[in-house]
Symmetry: C2
Amino acid sequence: MSGLTYKDSGVDTALKADLLARLRKRVKAGRPEVIGGIGGFGGLFRAPSGKDLVLVATTDGVGTKTELARMLDRHEVVGTDAVHQSVNDAAATGAEPLFFLDYFATSKLDPAVFDRIVDAIAAACEASGCALLGGETAEMPGTYVEGAYDLAGFLVGAVERERLLDPASVREGDELIGIPSTGLHTNGYTLARAAVARGGDPLEVLRLPRPELRGGTLGDALLQPHRSYLSDLRALREAARVRAVAHITGGGWEGNLPRALPDGLGAVVDRAAWIVPPVFRVLASLGGVPEADQWDTWNMGIGLVAVVANGDEHAAVRALPDAIPLGRVEKAAGPRRVRFA
Amino acid sequence: MSGLTYKDSGVDTALKADLLARLRKRVKAGRPEVIGGIGGFGGLFRAPSGKDLVLVATTDGVGTKTELARMLDRHEVVGTDAVHQSVNDAAATGAEPLFFLDYFATSKLDPAVFDRIVDAIAAACEASGCALLGGETAEMPGTYVEGAYDLAGFLVGAVERERLLDPASVREGDELIGIPSTGLHTNGYTLARAAVARGGDPLEVLRLPRPELRGGTLGDALLQPHRSYLSDLRALREAARVRAVAHITGGGWEGNLPRALPDGLGAVVDRAAWIVPPVFRVLASLGGVPEADQWDTWNMGIGLVAVVANGDEHAAVRALPDAIPLGRVEKAAGPRRVRFA
C-alpha cells in the first residue's frame, strides 16, 4: 500500500492556499479603517470612536438556497445573499456595517465556483460600504454531500447608543410600514425545494416558463438575490420616527415581526395591503402548502417591516416610493402576536 | 397527496425556536459590555474605547474533527475547539477576545447534541473572558450527510495599536519559543481519519488501547480539545519582548510559521528540541504518511510559536514552564521558509 498524503485523503492544501491568496487580494480593502500587512491570523480594523458607540454582531447562513444555485449554476446569488442578509439584520438594530467575514465549506473545493461566490461577496460588501475583512474555506469530504456547500457570513456594525432601534420604544397605535422583498430572500428554501419536487422533475419544474410568472421561470424567481434594505432604512429614518424594525427571515411573519415589539403588544396586518408575489403562489400550489405554513415560513412579499410612530406613516411612504402601510401595533390578542385582517 | 408543511420538508422551526430560546439564555452574558433585551436581530456590545484601538476579527471551522466527535459521542470537544482556535488566532495578533458567535449547521437538529456543543462553547467563552454574543443554527437536509454537522466560530477581539504583534518587527537572530499542543487541535483530521481507515475498522482502531499511547486510545488522543494559548501569551508578553506569533493550524509548519515572519526571513527549527507526541507517530504509521506531509499538515506537538527578541529566550522559558526554545530566525534559504535541523 502506498503512503497516504493529505491530498490523497481529499484535502488539497495547495489549492486552498492559492484560493486564499486570491481571496486575500480582495480582502482587507474597502474602508480606510482596514489595517493591511499585519496579523495574518486575524483581520485588523481600526476601532470606531464616538460617544456611546455600540457594536452589533450578526451571523447567518444562506440555507439550502445553495442547492438551487448549484442546480442552475447561479452561485453568485448566494454570495450576494450572505452579505445582504447580515447587513439587514444589523440594520434592523439601527447599525451601519463595518466589516464582514465569510465561512465557506464544501465536500471538495471547486475554484471556479469559489471565485464566483467570493467575487459576489466582495461586490456586495463594497456596495454596502463594508470591508471584507477575512474568511475561511474548508474542504470536508464526508461531512457535506458530494458537490454541496454551505456559506455563512459574520458581520459587525456600529451605531450610537441613542440611535439604537429599540422594540421597547414601540407604542400601541404605531404604524407598520412594509418594504417589498425580491422573493424568498434566503428563507424557506427547504420547503420551496420540497414543493418543487412534488411538481415533477425538479430541473424541468424550475425551467418551465410560467404565465403566472409573466413567462418567467420558477428557477429565476427563486434565485433573486436577497434585497439589501440599508439605503431604504437610512432614508426612512431621515423622514420618520422609526421605533423598531423586523427583518422577515426564517420563521416568517410570526417568527420575526414580534421581535420588533415589546411584550404585550402585537400587530394587525392587512393582507390586502399588498399582492403576494406569484412565486409564493406557484410554490404553495405545487406543494399544497397550507396557508399557515406559508406565512410562518416565507416573507410573502414583504422582507422588512418598520414600526414608525403614529402620524409618521405618510412621511415614511413619501420617503420610500415602494413602501406600503400594512397595519398597526395593537395589544397582543393571544400567544400568536401577528393578527392578519 | 396531502399538503406539504415546512416540517414535512425536513425543517422543524418549533424545535429550532426552542433551541434558540435556550441558547439565548446563555448568550448575551459574560461581560459587562453586553447590552441585553434590545435588538433581537443582532448581538449588542458596548464598543471598547481607548487610544488607537484595533478590532481583530477571525473566523474558523472545526473541520472534520466533528466526524470523530460523532463516532465517539464526544461532541463537547468541538464546542471548546471552536472557541479556543479563534481565541488563539486573535491572540496571535496580540488581541484580547471581546465576543464570539457560532454557526452550527446539520442535516437534522439533534437537541441533545446541540445543547452539549453550546454548553461547551459557553463554558469556553466564559473561561476566555469572552461574551457569547449570538449564533445561528441551520437544518439543511440534502446539504449535509445524514447525521453530520459543521461548526464554525467568529470572534472579535481588541488590542491597542502599539501592542499589535507585527511580523515586520522580527529580526534575523530572534528566537523561536514553542508551546506544546494537546494533539492535532483542529487540523489535519481528514488525513488522520484516512490513516485510521487504513488501520481497519475505524471504531476498533480508535478504541484499541495502545502501548505507544501509554495504554490510551487513539480516539482519546484525537479528541483532546484545542489548547487555548491566551494566558500563556499574556505571561510571555509580560516576561519577554514578543515580536510576532504563529498559531500552527491548517498547513502545519510551513503553512503557518512564515506568517509570523517578514518577507526574506525564514526559520531554522531544531526537531530534536522536543519529542513529537506519539499520536502523530501512530497516525503516520497507520497511514504510511510521508514525513513531509506530516509536518505540512499537523502541528507535530507544538501548537504555537512565539518569536521573541534575541536575548529574551531565557526570560520566556522562565515565564512559561512548558515553553521550548526551538531555534531562531534566519535569512530565508529558498521558497520553503522553515528549515528543519
